[in-house]
C-alpha cells in the first residue's frame, strides 16, 4: 500500500529524525504480556539500541504499550495516563486481547477493541508476541515517525467525541483532568 506523504517543512523532518531515536516507553503493564518485556529490555534483545527506554512517568513518555487484556478498571487508568502524555505520543496494542478480546472475548469486565477508546498506532498480533515481534513493531514505528505518517495521536483530538462516547458507554460519567479541545487548538488540529 502506498502511504500518502504530506509536504513537511525542514524543521518537521529534523524533529522526526530526533524523535525517532529517543522514544521513551511508559512503564505501565497490564495483563500477562508484561512478561515479554524483560527480555526485550535486557541484553538479549536490548531495545535501548533503538533509543527506547522504560520511563516511569506518563508526562515524559512517548509510547504507551498496552501489554495484554484491559479490564474496565484498568482502561480508566490507561485513559488518564494517556491524556497526561505529551504529544506526539503513540499507543501500541500488544497481543490479541487488545485487537479483539483474545481469549477473554466473552468476559464481562474486559474491553475487546482498544481502538474504540484510544487511537492505536500499531497492533502486534499473537498470544504472546515474542520479543522479536515487539522489536519489529518498534522498528516499524520508527520508520513511520521518520516518514511522518505516524499521526494516529492526532486522531484523538479530531475525533474526540467518538472516543469520549465509547468511553462513557463503558464507565458512565467520567472525570477528565485534561481539556482536550483546547489542547487541539494548541497543536493546530481541528
Amino acid at each position: 500500500m502506498k502511504q500518502k506523504i504530506t509536504q513537511r517543512s525542514a524543521w518537521d523532518r529534523i524533529l522526526a529524525k530526533l524523535n525517532k531515536r529517543s522514544l521513551w516507553m511508559l512503564h505501565y503493564c497490564t495483563g500477562c504480556g508484561a512478561i515479554e518485556l524483560p527480555p526485550t529490555m535486557t541484553a538479549r534483545f536490548d531495545m535501548e539500541r533503538f533509543g527506547i527506554v522504560p520511563m516511569v512517568t506518563p508526562r515524559q513518555a512517548d509510547i504507551l504499550l498496552i501489554t495484554g487484556y484491559l479490564s474496565i478498571k484498568t482502561l480508566k487508568r490507561i485513559i488518564l495516563s494517556y491524556e497526561q502524555m505529551q504529544a506526539p505520543k503513540w499507543v501500541v496494542g500488544f497481543g490479541s486481547c487488545t485487537i479483539n478480546g483474545g481469549m477473554y472475548w466473552n468476559s464481562y469486565t474486559t474491553i475487546k477493541r482498544l481502538d474504540m477508546y484510544l487511537p492505536v498506532e500499531i497492533y502486534i498480533a499473537g498470544c504472546m508476541p515474542r520479543p522479536e515481534a515487539i522489536i519489529q513493531s518498534f522498528d516499524t514505528l520508527i520508520n513511520r515517525i521518520d516518514k511522518g505518517v505516524a499521526n494516529s495521536w492526532k486522531d484523538y483530538y479530531t475525533n474526540y467525541d467518538f472516543y469520549r462516547k465509547n468511553q462513557e458507554k463503558v464507565f458512565g460519567e467520567i472525570e477528565t483532568y485534561n481539556d482536550i479541545k483546547s489542547d487541539a487548538e494548541k497543536f493546530g488540529i481541528k
Binding site: 474496565i72 478498571k73 480508566k76 485487537i99 479483539n100 478480546g101 472475548w105 466473552n106 468476559s107 464481562y108 469486565t109 474491553i111 475487546k112 477493541r113 474504540m116 465509547n166 458507554k169 463503558v170 464507565f171 458512565g172
Partner: protein, 177 residues
C-alpha cells in the same frame, strides 16, 4: 485411631448443635451443615471455645435449581490442624439479607463485601457494603448463575470483523502474484 482430631472436633460440635449434619471429607477436613439461624452461635463457639482462631474464607455457591444460595465458612485451627467448612443455605432472592460475622472476625468484612458484589447478598451488621473489586460495575451481580456472561459481552462491547473486505482484497492480490 484414624481421624482422631477430626472426630474430636465433631464431638465438640455435636454437644451443642444437635441438628447439624457432619461429614469427614478427608484428612483434616470436616464438613458441617447448619440451619441458617445458627451461624453466629456457631462462629462464636468456634472462636471462643473450640480453638479455631482463623477464618480462612467465606465462599458462596449459587444453587439455582434449588433456588438457594449456599454460604461456606472455612475455619482453621492451628493447634487442632483441622479445617471446618460450615455450610448454610439461604433462600435465593434478588437481594437476600443475612447476618454478618464481622464483629467476630475483622477479615469477614472483606469476604462479605466480595460476596455482596458478586452475588448480591446483603450482610446486616457489616457497615461497609461498598464496591470492592468491580468499582466500575453497574450491572447485576456477575457470579450469579442467571447472569449470562457471553450475552452481556456481546451486547456491551464492540467486536472486530475477523474477515473484513479489505483483508480479502489483500489476500486476492497476494494470490495473483
Amino acid at each position: 485411631m484414624e481421624y482422631q482430631a477430626e472426630n474430636a472436633v465433631i464431638e465438640d460440635i455435636k454437644s451443642i448443635f444437635k441438628n447439624a449434619e457432619y461429614k469427614i471429607k478427608s484428612e483434616r477436613r470436616v464438613e458441617v451443615k447448619l440451619s441458617s439461624d445458627e451461624i453466629i452461635d456457631f462462629a462464636y463457639k468456634m472462636q471462643k471455645d473450640w480453638d479455631f482462631p482463623h477464618l480462612s474464607a467465606i465462599s458462596c455457591v449459587d444453587w439455582i435449581d434449588d433456588n438457594e444460595f449456599e454460604l461456606v465458612y472455612h475455619f482453621w485451627s492451628y493447634n487442632r490442624k483441622v479445617i471446618v467448612s460450615a455450610k448454610v443455605r439461604i433462600p435465593r432472592e434478588d437481594e437476600p439479607h443475612y447476618t454478618s460475622i464481622s464483629h467476630l472476625w475483622q477479615p469477614a468484612k472483606f469476604f462479605e463485601r466480595d460476596i455482596h458484589e458478586m452475588f448480591g447478598i446483603v450482610f446486616d451488621g457489616n457497615d461497609d457494603m461498598e464496591k470492592f473489586i468491580l468499582t466500575e460495575w453497574k450491572g447485576e451481580p456477575p457470579m450469579r448463575k442467571d447472569f449470562i456472561t457471553r450475552e452481556y459481552a456481546l451486547n456491551h462491547f464492540h467486536f472486530k470483523d475477523y474477515h473484513p473486505d479489505w483483508l480479502k482484497e489483500l489476500e486476492n492480490a497476494g494470490e495473483q502474484k
